[in-house]
C-alpha cells in the first residue's frame, strides 16, 4: 500500500518508516532538509519530499492511506512551538478528501494515562473530530508514554483511561499503527494501547 506518513521524522515516525518498509508498504513522507530526507530514506522511506513550509499536496498525490503521527505540523521538528497544529490536520484531511484517500490512522498526542483535563490541553483532541467526519475510514490510537526500548510486539488494549504511568516502546506503537492500516477490526474505532501480554496482531483482531 502507498502510505503517506505525516511525522515520519519523529520518534515514532522513524520506526513507522522502518516497519512499513519491512511490511512491503511504500512509505512517503516530508523532511525539512535534504540531509534529513536522505536519512529518512536510509531508514526505509521510499520517497521523501523536501519542504520547509510543509507543502505536502504533491507528495500526497496517489497515496492510498495516511498515517498521521500527531505533532507533525508546519513548525515541527526542532522549531516546534505548538503541541498539535489542528490547522495542519485540517489541511491534510481536506487534501486527502480531495484526492480520494479514505484510510486514515491517527496517533493521538493525548496519552492513555493523562487526565481528561491534560488531554484537552492545547486542543490536542480537536483533530480527532475532523478525522472522524464523513469520508474517512479511521483508526485513532492512544498509547501510553513512548520510550526508546526494543519493541516486544506485545500489547494490551484497554477500555478506560489508566492512571498508572506506563511505558510502551515506540517500536510497538509504530507496529500497532502499521498493523491497524489493513486490520479491518480497527476500522472506525478509537483504541487505547499499553504494553502488555498479547501479540499486536491478536490484540487488534479481537477488538
Amino acid at each position: 500500500m502507498k502510505v503517506f506518513v505525516f511525522g515520519g521524522g519523529g520518534e515514532v515516525g522513524e520506526y513507522l518508516l522502518r516497519k512499513l518498509a519491512a511490511e512491503n508498504h511504500e512509505a512517503i513522507t516530508i523532511a525539512e532538509t535534504e540531509n534529513r530526507a536522505e536519512e529518512l530514506k536510509m531508514i526505509g522511506a521510499s520517497r521523501v519530499y523536501v519542504s520547509k513550509d510543509y507543502d505536502f499536496i504533491e507528495a500526497i498525490s496517489g497515496c492510498e492511506a495516511i498515517i498521521y503521527v500527531a505533532g507533525a505540523n508546519p513548525t515541527a521538528g526542532e522549531n516546534r512551538n505548538v503541541l498539535v497544529d489542528k490547522e495542519a490536520v485540517a489541511r491534510a484531511m481536506e487534501e486527502a478528501r480531495k484526492q480520494g484517500i479514505e484510510r486514515v490512522v491517527y496517533l493521538s498526542p493525548a496519552r492513555v494515562d493523562e487526565s481528561a483535563k491534560s488531554q484537552e490541553t492545547g486542543d490536542k483532541k480537536i483533530p480527532e473530530e475532523l478525522i472522524k467526519q464523513d469520508v474517512f475510514t479511521y483508526t485513532i490510537v492512544y498509547s501510553s508514554r513512548g520510550v526508546h526500548k526494543p519493541g516486544k510486539g506485545m500489547i494490551d488494549i484497554i477500555t478506560s483511561p489508566s492512571k498508572k504511568v506506563m511505558e510502551i516502546p515506540y517500536e510497538d506503537v509504530a507496529a500497532v499503527l502499521v498493523e491497524s492500516l489493513t486490520n479491518k477490526a480497527t476500522y472506525n474505532k478509537t483504541i487505547k494501547v499499553i504494553a502488555g501480554n498479547t501479540s499486536i496482531e491478536n490484540a487488534l483482531k479481537n477488538i
Partner: protein
C-alpha cells in the same frame, strides 16, 4: 557461673585497655630500635602517621580533598563524564561549566547560525540495542538502581563522509563510520575480561575499531564483532619467527583475517623508548601462542626495529606489507624531533611511498607501565604535535595520502573536536575506555594488582570485572562521544564533525587575547627562524 558474671565486665574493660597499650609499647620499642627510618627512631608512633597518610593520601585526595577539576591525569569531573556516559547514558550537566575560564585554552568557534538537528549529515538509520542504568533512589550510603534495555542512535558518519584508510593505495581499504576508536592496549597489559568487554562493547556500538597493541591478536580481541588494527612493535609479537625475525608467513596469516582491517607499525613511542621487557613468568602458554614466543622465557624487545633504521628502509617495509597483506599500513609516532619529521615527509613526497595513516601519540598519553622521566618529558603533547604534522604534510603536498589519528587524553567530545579541528581525521582513546570498563585510576597498572581487574591478569582480581555488564558501558561511551561530536559540529555551523577545520578553533591566552591555529603555527616558524639566527652567531668563548 556467678563468679564469671561478676568478673566479666572488669575483664572486658581490662583487656580493651591493656591490649592496645601492649601493642603500642611493642611498636614503640620496635621503632625506637630500628636503624632504617630516622623519623621513626626520633618519633616512634607519631612517625607512623606519616606513612599511613602517605599510603591513603591518593584515595583521600581523589575522593575528599581534590576539587572536581583537580587531579591528574584526569580530574574527578572528567572521570565522572566517562562513567555517567557509559553507565547512565547521560551527559547533561547542571548549573554550567566548572572549567576555569581565566586559564588559557582552546575553544570551538561557535557559529551564529548553528545547524539544526535535521541539517546534520548523520546516519542513525540503524538503532543500537544496549543497556543503561536508571537510578530509583539515592541515599547517603546506598544507591538503588536498575538496568534497562534501550534502543539508541549510534551517530555514524554518512557513507560519503566515512574516513577511509588506504583509499586508492591498497586492495582492501578500511572504511570507518565513526571517528573514535580504541588506542593500542595489549592483552597482558589489560586482562582478558577487560579486553573482551572492550571488544564486545565496541562491536555493539559499531563504526569503530580496536587497536590490538603490540602484544598481538588474542582471542579476547576477537571476542566481539569489531574491526581490528593490528599493531606491530619492535618485538614483532605475533608476526615473528622463532629466531625473532619478521615472519611474512605469520603476517600473511594475520592479514587474511577478516576482522583485521589495517596494520600499524609502532616506531619510537614514548612509553617504550626504553624497549620492551616481558618477564618469563608472565609468558603463559596463551601469551606465548599469541605472541609467537616461547612459554616461560623472558623476552626483551628493542626500542626500535633493528632492521629498519632509516625512512627509506621503513617505507620499503611498509610497501611490502601493503602489497602482501593488501590492507592499509600506518605508523605510530611520538613527535619530538620536528626536523626528523620534516625529513620523513620530504622522503614521502620524493619517493611516493609512506604510510596510509600516522597515529600521533601525544606525550601525555599512556595506559600501563613506563618510567616517570619518559612519561613526563619525552615527546610533545598532542595539541602541539598534531598541527605540526598536519602542516608539514600539507606543505609537502602529501596530506591527501595520509590520514592522521590523534591520541593523548582526548576523552570527551570537546577535546576530540579540538583535535579534529587541528587536523586529526580520527582519534584514539585508551584510558577513557579503561575507565568505561571500571578503572578507578588506582595508578597500579604496572603491578598486576589492579583492584578492579582491568590492568591485571590475576584471575581473582579479574573476577570483579563482569564482561556482560561492562561491554554496554563501552558501547554507550563511544556512542555518546560520537553524539557529542555532532553537537559540537552543529554549534560550529557544519553538518558533520568531519568538516571541522582549523578555522573552527581559537586559542585564548591568559590575558584574554585570541589567536588562530594558523597564526600559532606561524609564530612557531618565526621562533624557529630566530633560533636559527642565534645558532649562526659565533660560538661563545
Amino acid at each position: 557461673m556467678g563468679k564469671i558474671t561478676k568478673y566479666l565486665p572488669s575483664a572486658l574493660v581490662g583487656s580493651t585497655i591493656a591490649a592496645p597499650l601492649a601493642y603500642i609499647a611493642y611498636i614503640y620499642q620496635k621503632d625506637n630500635h630500628q636503624k632504617q627510618h630516622a623519623v621513626l627512631r626520633n618519633f616512634p608512633l607519631l612517625g607512623r602517621v606519616r606513612y599511613m597518610a602517605e599510603h591513603v593520601g591518593p584515595e583521600l585526595r581523589q575522593y575528599l580533598f581534590s576539587g572536581d577539576n583537580e587531579g591528574l591525569p584526569f580530574s574527578r569531573m572528567q572521570y565522572q563524564d566517562i562513567v555517567k556516559a557509559g553507565k547512565y547514558n547521560e551527559r547533561l550537566i547542571g548549573f554550567g561549566s566548572s572549567r576555569n575560564f581565566a586559564e588559557d585554552g582552546f575553544y570551538i568557534r561557535n557559529s551564529l547560525f548553528p545547524k539544526l538537528r535535521t541539517e546534520l549529515k548523520v546516519d542513525n538509520s540503524q538503532k543500537v540495542t544496549t543497556y543503561q542504568y536508571v537510578i530509583d533512589n539515592e541515599g547517603l550510603m546506598s544507591r538503588k538502581e536498575h538496568r534497562e534495555e534501550i534502543l539508541t542512535d549510534p551517530y555514524y558518519l554518512r557513507d560519503e563522509d566515512a574516513v577511509v584508510l588506504g583509499d586508492g593505495y591498497c586492495r582492501q581499504p578500511f572504511r570507518i563510520k565513526g571517528q573514535v576508536g580504541m588506542s593500542a592496549m595489549s592483552y597482558g597489559a589489560l586482562g582478558e575480561n577487560a579486553i573482551t568487554a572492550l571488544s564486545k562493547g565496541l562491536g555493539i556500538a559499531g563504526g569503530t575499531w580496536m587497536n590490538t597493541g603490540e602484544g598481538g591478536i588474542s582471542d579476547h580481541h576477537l571476542a566481539g564483532d569489531t574491526d581490528l588494527i593490528m599493531q606491530i612493535g619492535p618485538g614483532l609479537f605475533g608476526v615473528r619467527t622463532p629466531g625473532g625475525e619478521f615472519s611474512w608467513e605469520a603476517f600473511k596469516e594475520k592479514a587474511d583475517m577478516e576482522k583485521v582491517k589495517a596494520f600499524e607499525v609502532k616506531l619510537a613511542q614514548g612509553a617504550k623508548t626504553r624497549g620492551g621487557h616481558l618477564e618469563g613468568q608472565k609468558v603463559t602458554e596463551e601469551i606465548a601462542r599469541i605472541r609467537l614466543i616461547e612459554p616461560g622465557k623472558t623476552v626483551n624487545s628493542p626500542n626500535r626495529f633493528t632492521e629498519y633504521d632509516s625512512f627509506e628502509k621503513l617505507f620499503g617495509f611498509i610497501e611490502e606489507m601493503r602489497e602482501i597483506g593488501g590492507k592499509p599500513v600506518g605508523m605510530k609516532i611520538v613527535v619530538g624531533d620536528v626536523e626528523g619529521l620534516e625529513e620523513m615527509v620530504q622522503i614521502m613526497k620524493d619517493s611516493g611511498k609512506g604510510p596510509d595513516f600516522i597515529t600521533i601519540d601525544g606525550g601525555e598519553g599512556g595506559t600501563g607501565a613506563t618510567y616517570q622521566e619518559l612519561a613526563d618529558s619525552v615527546g610533545l603533547p598532542i595539541l602541539t604535535a598534531l598541527p605540526i604534522v598536519d602542516e608539514l604534510l600539507r606543505q609537502y603536498g602529501v596530506r591527501d595520502r595520509v590520514k592522521l589519528i590523534a591520541s593523548g587524553k582526548l576523552i570527551t567530545p570537546d577535546k576530540i573536536a579540538i583535535a579534529l579541528s587541528m587536523g586529526a581525521d580520527l582519534v584514539n582513546i585508551a584510558r577513557g575506555f579503561m575507565i568505561s570498563v571500571g578503572c578507578i585510576m588506582a595508578g597500579v597498572c604496572h603491578t598486576n594488582t589492579c583492584p578492579v581487574g582491568v590492568a591485571t591478569t590475576d584471575p581473582d582480581l579479574q573476577d570483579g570485572l563482569v564482561v556482560g555488564e561492562k561491554m554496554y558501558r563501552v558501547a554507550n561511551y563511544v556512542m555518546s562521544l560520537r553524539a557529542g561530536l555532532f553537537n559540537v559540529a552543529a554549534a560550529a555551523g557544519v553538518e558533520s564533525p568531519t568538516m571541522l577545520e582549523r578555522k573552527h578553533l581559537t586559542h585564548k591566552d591568559i590575558q584574554g587575547r585570541i589567536s588562530s591555529v594558523g597564526s600559532m603555527l606561524h609564530k612557531i616558524e618565526q621562533e624557529e627562524r630566530k633560533e636559527k639566527d642565534v645558532e649562526d652567531l659565533p660560538v661563545k668563548n
